[in-house]
């Protein structure tokens, strides 16, 4: 087999299959983890009937959604109604293409990278793709011909674009420290600096994380699907597999936000405290731990935080939500860019 075919087609195809499988598996079990953790936080047992300790619950849920009747409301714009779940699912999956899950390793003399591609505009690509998701939400809400969906879609669009700006500014301060848009490059910059960017960029991380939670429409920013007032927001009228796609996309987006927090602020696949414990991590016992394990541990922590928030915080009011985004986070993130700039100039002399 010619080398080019192997490098350009076969290996990426294997990676794509593995990536898609892992992502969908994690998404499925994230729903299980969420229900279980929430249950324990509220002194309940959670799902425990399907399989041992409820382990098969996500599969049962998936099957149920698969065979459910698919209702389309009478007055709906049928084509747009059909398009919307795809418009939100495709970007959610696509964003995993550039996320580096670990350091390159060798299999049979061939270097394999545990990421699909390392492009030099990764961050720009991610922000661009993630913006497409807004279309899915607003079109889904608009095409349903339901007041609840329309209000949910409008709210969601306003919320997502409002929080995208402070998030962009928070990312800018990371780029200033790293000097590159490549995600692999950002992790490498943290390795060379012997410090995670969360320490100099604690403010940027706080802003990024708040915006990340708001971007994925999760508690306490889950206004678009505020069930007490809007039933289910933009997907009120969706059922069956189309609803499942909205659901999968939400959890996939949570994974992307968590993975990006790991890469940009917490050293990606690097072990913890690279500045203090470098000797410890180089010791023969701990050095064998693959980077993917560290990455998964950090990402898992952030995913837990998402669920933890849902179990803890009450929902914002819509005017409060807009005030937090435009009057607090935006000036704060701008000030943070200036602060990081001044500090870096001072540091370099």
């Amino acid at each position: 087999m010619p080398e080019a075919v192997l490098n350009l087609l076969l290996i990426p195809l294997i990676k794509i299959v593995v990536l898609l499988g892992v992502v969908l598996l994690i998404v499925a079990y994230l729903t299980y983890a969420e229900r279980k953790i929430l249950a324990y936080m509220q002194v309940r047992l959670g799902p425990n009937r399907v399989g041992p300790k409820g382990w098969l619950q996500p599969i049962a849920d998936g099957l149920k959604l698969f065979v459910k009747e698919d209702l389309i409301p009478g007055g709906a714009e049928r084509f747009v109604f059909l398009l919307a779940p795809g418009l939100i699912m495709v970007p959610a999956l696509l964003m995993f293409a550039v996320i580096p899950f670990g350091e390159p390793f060798k299999v049979g003399g061939r270097t394999i990278t545990p990421y699909l591609a390392d492009v030099n505009i990764a961050i720009l690509l991610l922000l661009g793709i993630s913006s497409i998701g807004v279309f899915g939400i607003i079109l889904g809400g608009w095409s349903s011909n339901s007041k609840f969906s329309l209000m949910g879609g409008l709210r969601s669009a306003a919320q997502m674009i409002s929080y995208e700006i402070p998030m962009g500014f928070a990312v800018v301060s990371v780029l200033m420290m790293a000097g590159t848009l490549s995600l692999v490059g950002i992790v490498e910059a943290q390795r060379q600096a012997h410090i995670w960017f969360v320490l100099p960029g604690i403010l940027a991380f706080g802003i990024y994380w708040i915006c990340g939670v708001a971007e994925t429409n999760r508690n306490p920013f889950d206004l678009p699907e505020a069930e007490a007032e809007l039933v289910a927001g933009f997907h009120t009228e969706y059922s069956g597999m189309k609803f499942a796609l909205f659901f999968l996309a939400e959890y996939a987006n949570m994974m992307v936000i968590s993975a990006l927090a790991t890469v940009m602020f917490f050293g990606g696949w690097l072990p913890p405290f690279p500045n203090l414990l470098a000797g410890l991590w180089a010791s023969p016992v701990l050095a064998w731990i693959p980077g993917v394990v560290w990455f998964a541990a950090k990402m898992g922590f952030f995913l837990f935080c998402y669920i933890w928030f849902r179990g803890t915080f009450p929902r914002y009011r819509f005017d409060q939500l807009m005030a937090v985004g435009w009057k607090w986070l935006l000036p704060l993130s701008l000030a943070n860019v200036m602060l990081v700039g001044v500090l870096m100039l001072w540091w370099k002399g």
Partner: protein, 118 residues
Amino acid sequence: MEQYVPILVYALVAISFPIITLLLARIFRAGSPDPVKAEAYECGVQAETKAFDTRFSIRYYLIAVLFVVFDVETIFLFPWAVSFQRLALFGFIEMMIFLAILLVGYVYAWRRGALEWA
């Protein structure tokens, strides 16, 4: 450009994912259509108007316009941030002037009440 080939392949797979699942679900799903089921969710009350007739707050439009301004600003910041360590003090001051001009617009929008939601 070679590293974009896997992304392109992956994009095709990602696009086909919802199409395939929706087509498969079309084969297996239950279906007993009923005009009552096709009504919009409305607590059992017959809807008087279509949802498309619903009026909504003009502020959503205002937020969208503000978003365009500030999103373009972030896009300008990205290349600057990447080469910040090379541009050093001169580039920093230049960008601060640019940000100050936008800040004037931000303060103006705030003073005019564009950020109030009431």
